[in-house]
Symmetry: C2
Subunit: 468 residues, 2 copies
């Protein structure tokens, strides 16, 4: 057991918290979305929360942690759903929320610290020059830009720009390594994959440079259809209209909208599926002409509603907020993340809808994938057993619809189900003791793990579960 009294002393001058309740609070994220992760990770907690305000303090903290062999798990706002920010072996949670300064804004790009909340970043770049980040998670009002880069993939705006993995959607990251003498590295272009979407296992991000898109006063729109597949076809057709600028296109099947979108309920119709949209004001005319032609039932428009007070943003009905709103009303619900590779993505969605009926409720997010319009899914699942969930996953995969499993806390199992050699090699170089967010990269802990054996990885270093 590391000597935390000594460590606290060595961190003198940097904000440190060790009150168990407060530390536990900062040791969680939205892992409880998954009944499986809730079981596995509910007891996890750090020993200390350290909240640096500068890169210098980050370096000092890492140096102390390295010397004492203490794990470091970085944290933005803790809005991830896979335990990304949860300290499986305890140690220090590095809370980066106070590193929140915007440093420079230029046409098409911004340089800032990682801890700034995305909505605040957008507010500043919009006020400065009518710009905003290209895309953001549905948690933009609380999530940090650094957390998004380290633990996210795409979101609201991905219909135009694709995802974080795409060259050009992150411009530069500055990271501190976990060594006796921490180094500061600047990564760009191909090198970014070493640290983006690595859950902080490969260095602590202290500065990000992100591309910007023009900011508009996006109009929230909800279009209703009696048949879910009509909603899907409308969304797909709309996304293929080059001249209509959209930021969000999410078909969501009944009964989700009427039953779970409580603030929007006055505008919704029982039994209808919907498409949740964000449209630029100057595309509203053409958009409405297209929606009318496609017999869409315009249920809600933020540009004509009397007041938006108390009504969430459209994007807060989409992505994982759809899941959240369902969970709030019906805790037995969980979800999956599905790909429907094109060009027959609509047919694949129809097939899955037919197979599962009410058990798996459709929710799609349209986005750009390698230059093509595609959709990925975050369907809601009426959870019964672990076994049935595994079966639902298998049926999807048997039908050509790969699953990114949101019920796993490792990079590989929630992702490509194979070792990322680039990330592994970089970790060997920059975190030789394996102290950064331990347990998240299987390739590091167990290079021989067989991803095809169909067994879950259980991190041996996971804190022993003691029921209190």
């Amino acid at each position: 057991m590391p000597d935390y009294a000594k460590i606290k002393q060595e961190l003198n001058g940097i904000a440190v918290e060790d009150h168990p309740a407060l530390v536990k609070q900062k040791s969680r994220d939205f892992y409880w979305y998954s009944p499986i992760l809730k079981d596995e990770l509910d007891h996890v907690t750090a020993d200390l929360v350290v909240s640096p305000t500068s890169e210098e303090e980050v370096i000092r903290t890492l140096k102390v942690a390295y010397a004492n062999g203490v794990p470091i798990t970085p944290r933005g706002a803790g809005t991830g759903n896979y335990g990304q920010a949860m300290p499986l072996s305890g140690g220090i949670v590095l809370n980066l929320i106070n590193m929140n300064k915007v440093k420079e804004i230029h046409p098409g790009r911004v340089i800032c610290e990682p801890g700034i909340v995305i909505a605040e970043l957008d507010k500043q770049t919009k006020a400065h020059s009518g710009q905003e980040v290209r895309f953001h998670p549905s948690t933009a009002q609380t999530a940090t830009i650094g957390g998004f880069v380290a633990g996210g993939s795409g979101g609201v705006g991905s219909i135009t720009w694709g995802g974080l993995r795409d060259l050009g959607n992150i411009l530069r990251l500055r990271v501190v390594t976990m060594e006796a003498e921490p180094r500061v590295l600047e990564l760009s272009a191909w090198d970014l994959q070493k640290v983006s979407h690595a859950y902080g296992t490969n260095g602590i991000i202290t500065e990000v440079e992100m591309p910007l898109a023009p900011a508009y006063d996006w109009v929230d729109v909800i279009v209703g259809y009696d048949d879910y597949m009509d909603a899907v076809r409308f969304a797909d057709g709309l996304c293929h209209r080059n001249g209509i600028l959209l930021k969000e296109v999410a078909p969501i099947a009944a009964p989700v909208p009427f039953d779970y979108f409580t603030r929007h309920k006055p505008w919704l119709k029982e039994g209808q599926s919907v498409v949740v949209l964000m449209v630029t004001p100057h595309s509203m005319g053409p958009f409405l002409a297209y929606a009318e032609k496609m017999k869409g039932d315009i249920r809600f428009r933020s540009d004509t509603v009397e007041s938006m007070k108390g009504i969430p943003h459209a994007y807060e009905l989409a992505w994982n907020h759809t899941t959240l709103r369902a969970l709030k009303v019906d805790p037995s619900i969980t979800y999956l993340q599905v790909q429907y590779p094109g060009p027959d993505h609509v047919a694949k969605v129809a097939k899955m809808t037919e197979i599962f009926g009410e058990e798996v409720i459709g929710h799609l997010e349209f986005l750009k994938f390698d230059g093509q319009i595609q959709c990925s899914g975050l369907p809601l699942v009426r959870y019964t057993t672990k076994e049935r969930l595994e079966e639902i996953i298998r049926i999807h995969e048997d039908n050509g619809c790969p699953i990114f499993n949101p019920h796993r806390y490792t990079l590989e199992e929630g992702g490509m189900k194979q070792t990322d050699e680039t990330q592994l090699a970089f970790k060997k170089e920059t975190d030789p003791k394996g102290l950064l967010n331990p347990g998240k990269m299987i390739a590091w802990d167990n290079p021989d793990f067989d991803f095809k054996a169909g067994k879950n990885y259980l991190f041996p270093g996971l804190q022993a579960f003691e029921k209190v």
Copy 2:
């Protein structure tokens, strides 16, 4: 023969020109790109050029022309290549270049008169709020926005936004009808197809509302490849990278660049094919990383060149400027307009390249078509005979590559080769005497014309050719 002395009097107060040399000058466009159109239309001239400065003067002019049974052919800057602005039966050329005011600029849209030159419009919207039109022809420095809407299709920026035909890429047009009492109509959404790309046969445009995109200081780049198909594959791959923002992507085969791009010659390499590009400054890093990976030879960058004085814009090497530059050096060259429907567009290009070798020199423009990355071609043809040109067209079409024939002056033959019922019905309603740009809409003149018979349409009203 109309009494033009009387007509001039009736137009009192409006600028009118009747000096034959000056009238002839304003009766041409770039029809001479085509050896066939040059033959057919070289003698065409109007009787008067009328240059209104307001919608009111347009209405007065149309009223007088209607009463006197005089044809009206509207003209922007005369940069079209199909005789769009040429008065086949004489009469009045309506020169709209003096109607050039910008009326309103808003986030994402601009309202202006039709005669403003596109580069000037961009200058004003950029100065106002960092915006520019979504796409423009390579003639932006001289072409008018109204001429583009009436006679163009796509251009520089179409890689992001598609073409004018796409819902949302024109927001609204105000047009004056050709009746005893001309009406002023406002058209938007689906109704726009009645007048856009109708060569002014369906009403005179007096105001346009166009969507705007963010303006950037686009970087001109030329990338060299020894093999043309490598250049094509690089361009196609690049366009599929969601995160890299481009405005222009044109692969052009050797020997065109080195032989015909005289101002850029110092940077080019003999025998190399190139890709001509416009890249946002904030995408240059990722772009260069991708180009390096694809073994592209960066020959030219406007952001590192010592001075751009005397060097044309990259887009002035592309679209029909490629043709123009070739023609200037070798007048025996002409061109075609080819579609290579995807997803196997690259394979189709390879096939055509293989079949024709040096006779048809590759020039592609990448663009978005119904949400997909596609390429269309403006290949240069070493012209021998009309018959061989027809054969080249037939071989393309036999291989699944439709041709839009740039050697025809009618809407139908240069386009979809079928009657546009919407445009025809609208013309019946708004130009009952058929006085607007006569001879351009076959469906009006000869409803029974058989497009499949393989014969060219010869407008009976075409001015008799008298060699002077």
